[in-house]
Symmetry: C2
Subunit: 131 residues, 2 copies
């Protein structure tokens, strides 16, 4: 098992929380599984083709170990595995919502700031050209 998880300092419960959803794709996965519940491994792979299989499995396993998703194996052939969120995972998804909203707002602001800076730079350049 290649898990050690960079230990986060935990005053308030943020350390443990970030340890659980800190992975690069975990929040996204939780969100997608919550949407398309229950969904299969291959489905997730198709939904997010940018994730490598290794990371997909690794994250799924860690999330399972953390109790936020449930994994059910059907002994069929070809194999079939279904993932769904646990009640705890659903709560986490909910707790993540305000953060997501903040992120969107922040992103907009950052874009505006960048546009503003570009405009200012242009104006400054014109001013300099006029001398």
């Amino acid at each position: 098992m290649e898990k050690k998880q960079r230990k986060l300092p935990d005053s308030c419960g943020l350390g443990p929380a970030l340890a659980v959803i800190g992975g690069k794709w975990k929040a996204l996965l939780l969100w997608q599984i919550h949407q398309a519940q229950p969904c299969r491994f291959g489905e997730l792979k198709r939904l997010q083709p940018e994730i490598s299989e290794k990371m997909l499995i690794q994250h799924l396993r860690e999330m399972e170990a953390d109790g936020i998703i449930h994994r059910e194996v059907f002994h069929q052939v070809p194999p079939r595995v279904e993932y769904s969120v646990t009640p705890e995972g659903a709560e986490l998804d909910l707790a993540l919502a305000p953060l997501g909203e903040w992120g969107e707002k922040h992103q907009e602001r950052a874009e505006k700031a960048k546009a503003g800076a570009a405009r200012a730079a242009r104006t400054a350049a014109e001013g300099a050209a006029r001398g």
Copy 2:
């Protein structure tokens, strides 16, 4: 500038949000600055002696660039720099609250589960010894 920030995929605004508070100590710093506002560099260093000066500065600078904290330099000697949270930073801190609560609950559950597992293992061992 040694910042590239592991790019997080962003459906919903979680990507950008985690990019901002994903650093090992950032959430903690934001929280502490919010508490003891305004506070000086040395103060933060004393409050959290485990952070190396390098990470402290690096995180503070990134958070400043992200617009969640404000840095004010007083041209005195010895130098004096004060950090405070911006309105945007305060909002983030608020948005982080539910996540923190989830983290605490989750931690408790995890501890109970571990205790339960240990008890079960003990019982099983006793059973085996008798059997």
